[in-house]
């Protein structure tokens, strides 16, 4: 799906836990996530901390969308 969206001309960032799969599939902007059943959350945290964590990940994804890339790039910092 990432590839078809990219092909249509829309930049897309893939937030996912298993980065090697995303690389194999062909995503260009990749942001590693927390865990398979809760990529953008962590049930062990308090509601507030969890939301802060999610916001941080989404901001990282937005940053990736604002960054020019020339090939597959993993935004893991």
């Amino acid at each position: 799906m990432v590839k078809e969206i990219e092909r249509a001309g829309i930049p897309v960032v893939h937030i996912c836990t298993v980065v090697p799969i995303s690389l194999t599939v062909g995503a260009n902007r990749i942001v590693p996530a927390v865990a398979i059943p809760h990529p953008l959350g962590n049930p062990a945290l308090s509601k507030e901390d969890e939301k802060a964590l999610r916001k941080q990940l989404v901001l990282k994804a937005l940053k990736a969308l604002e960054t020019e890339v020339h090939g597959q790039t993993v935004f893991d910092k």
Partner: protein, 347 residues
């Protein structure tokens, strides 16, 4: 006697389904689950001395650590052959089988074989490194897969010559060998063409590699005024799954209006995905589809607007052809709606 160690996931190990996918590796003496039939296929010259079981999510979330732990377990048995799976079309299981096979082969110098459906992501990741027997997409193909895995495994363990992918049933690794043929190339090419014109089967001698890569689009220039859409393969749907998107092998996607929705709650949204433990997503679907924080960022002016609709499907054994079809269809809608960027989340 050829000593074999077999790797399987928590499901085939009889430990549990998705709720147990986070278990750490453990080792059992002898055969477990499909190991029994595998032992039958291997015959009397080989013995499965141990079975290693690991949760698919644990392995994929801790690739390096899990590989290291399992390598140690394999090493203790000093096997002559390592078999993983078969994983059929289970993505995380395939990645686990491929990763551990590659490590056992390279670090311990033990022959390895696995089995997967060609669309399993583990195939593209590891087909160059290891022998992967081509299987059906589901466990119904077990009876056919095990004899082929056993046969190739025994050949590898005995150091016998390995035939072509078509002869042995493994997925082509991209290895080319020089061989002598009875007929010269021009004749073979014409024969192939004639067969093709007649609609008869023929086997190309040089399949073209399939590099389906899409170059990245330019970055978003003006995020503050950009319309951002959310897409997910994590199966988030309005409570009750109104379009009945299948829990696996999805044949459709959903498009849902989130105008005015500030937060996905337990009462309003859930996941239709059958390939991961749904507890966390059902409690709070924002953990998969971050509507709540995008609404905040919209209010704060970080982004222009969150697109009115999100698109969703279940990425669980769903065919590549279907996923491609879904996305090429809705991508046109996204373009027409003036969406400037997409955040796609996967579980």
């Amino acid at each position: 006697m050829i000593k074999v160690v077999h790797y399987i996931n928590q499901f085939y190990g009889g430990i549990g389904g998705e709720e147990k996918a986070d278990i750490r590796p453990e080792v059992r003496e002898g055969v477990v689950g499909p190991g029994m039939a595998l032992q039958g296929a291997l015959g009397n010259d080989a013995k499965i001395v141990a079975t290693i079981i690991c949760g698919d999510s644990y392995f994929n979330e801790n690739l390096e650590e899990a590989t290291e732990e399992i390598l140690q377990m394999v090493k203790n048995y000093e096997p002559d052959l390592f078999i993983a799976g078969p994983a059929f079309n289970a993505g995380r299981y395939g990645v686990a089988c491929g990763t551990i096979c590659k490590a056992v082969k390279e670090k311990l110098n033990i022959p390895v074989v696995s089995g997967m459906y060609p669309e399993n992501p583990g195939v593209d990741m590891f087909k160059k490194d290891i022998y992967i027997i081509e299987t059906a997409n589901a466990a119904t193909g077990m009876r056919k897969a095990l004899p082929a895995i056993a046969k190739l495994g025994m050949k590898l363990a005995k150091g016998e010559a390995i035939g072509s992918p078509a002869e042995e049933g493994y997925i082509a690794r991209g290895v080319r060998k020089n061989i002598f043929r009875e007929e010269r190339g021009s004749k073979r090419a014409v024969n192939m063409l004639v067969a093709k014109l007649k609609g008869e089967p023929f086997e190309t001698e040089y399949p073209m590699p399939d590099f389906d890569r899409v170059a990245p689009n330019p970055a978003v220039k003006d995020l503050k005024n950009a319309k951002i859409a959310l897409v997910t393969s994590g199966g988030i749907v309005p409570k009750g799954n109104p379009d009945r998107i299948e829990a696996s092998s999805a044949s459709k996607y959903g498009k849902y209006d989130i105008e005015g929705v500030m937060d996905l709650t337990q009462e309003t949204y859930e996941t239709a995905h059958g390939g991961y433990d749904p507890v966390y997503a059902n409690q709070d679907a924002d953990r998969v589809l971050p509507v709540d924080v995008l609404r905040e960022l919209e209010k704060e002016g970080v982004i222009g607007k969150l697109h009115r609709y999100f698109y969703t499907t279940v990425g669980n054994g769903t065919s590549v052809a279907n996923a491609k079809k879904f996305a090429s269809t809705f991508a046109q809608e996204l373009v027409a709606d003036g969406v400037q960027a997409v955040i796609l989340t996967s579980t």
